[in-house]
Symmetry: C2
Subunit: 223 residues, 2 copies
């Protein structure tokens, strides 16, 4: 699909049909997601992909009984490692090997920077991992739709409960859930008019930050 | 460009040529970014786009003197509104008008949910806004590259200093910077071999979360 078409036609879909996603396609979607950028290329993202009924049922209970968690072929818990140092050594070895760094000293300097980040308060490291991990989640959703697989990102779930139910260590942040499946025919999420976006001249500030007092979103949706 | 090509060829580029980005193209890139999903479609993202030399110089000083901040045609401060309630009313009016909600009562219920989110501690609201705003930032970077405009996301900057220098209220989180410009010929960021990504079988866990003890990234980069 053309890039523009992927972005313009992607919608958050809550209703799926029963067509299974084949594992090769799913792997391909995840692999595309890993091409996302991240600070220092540290790639803190990991994905817990739930496909069997029991596990999806457990997750659905922890996601306030939202039905699409079990109706989707696959529901993914998008996780962020909150430890910036987890992969720093091999990442910077790679930079050195490929000529992005002039020498071992530069490499060691970067490792030190990242070690400093590793000492930040946990809330700052949660924000750090949410940032990069969300970039990968966005790519995941577009990559899925490029294969005709609809998605829905979800932030309404009991993160602590999810961590406990699926043995996720405290050092990971459950960033969001993403459901994946082929869309049900005639689902409102695709058939209904697209939900309005705030207009570009409201969200983009050239040169000076001049927040609007009142969104013009209401007017636009009436057009 | 085909979607796959956009994702496969996008690189974080630090060196730009002097070709200006025309304003219409830039607006189009931002408009595409706004098509990203967000929790409840609340769209907390705003973008401060700096294009003149003085403002970019100020920002560069606050970004540890990283040269591409001034060399890029445009450097964007990606901001997240930390108040989930900021646009809730018109967003849910839009849902009601388009048939996503059955009645006013359902609409008011959603407004109440979001008001509850608005009472969360500030750190949780920072994470909330970082999540949605990063989704839009990812779309922004792909949309730019679809026009041949290279980008580089940056998280290394003095966020408080940036807020102060550009009169950004406390209620906004400076989530990241993104430089935008046409890539300089022969830049290492494009000419050098791509930085390695962690392999898909390491970052995706099917059914059970089984973190690897040691990344295999080093081996892969040697291939």
């Amino acid at each position: 699909m053309q890039f523009d078409e992927v972005v313009q036609t992607r919608r958050s879909v809550h209703e799926y049909n029963d067509d299974p996603i084949d594992r090769e396609t799913l792997d391909d979607v995840f692999e595309t997601a890993t091409l996302s950028p991240s600070g220092y290329n540290l790639q803190p993202w990991e994905f817990l992909a739930l496909r069997d009924d029991d596990r999806k049922e457990t997750l659905r209970e922890l996601a306030y009984d939202q039905a699409h968690v079990t109706e989707a072929d696959t529901t993914v818990v998008v996780l962020g490692n909150t430890d910036p140092t987890a992969h720093a050594d091999p990442v910077f070895d790679d930079w050195l090997a490929k000529g992005y760094l002039p020498n071992e000293e530069a490499r060691d300097g970067l490792v030190e920077n990242v070690e400093g980040m590793g000492e930040l308060p946990v809330d700052e490291r949660r924000i750090w991992t949410t940032r990069s991990t969300s970039l990968a989640a966005m790519t995941l959703m577009y990559a899925a739709w490029d294969h005709g697989i609809a998605t829905c990102p979800m932030e309404g779930f009991d993160a602590e409960g999810v961590a406990e139910a699926f043995d996720i260590p405290d050092s990971y942040e459950p960033v969001m859930l993403v459901t994946l499946g082929y869309p049900a025919e005639g689902t409102a999420d695709i058939e209904n008019e697209r939900k309005t976006r705030r207009p570009v001249d409201e969200v983009v500030h050239y040169g000076e930050f001049d927040p609007v007092e009142e969104t013009s979103l209401g007017e636009v949706s009436g057009e």
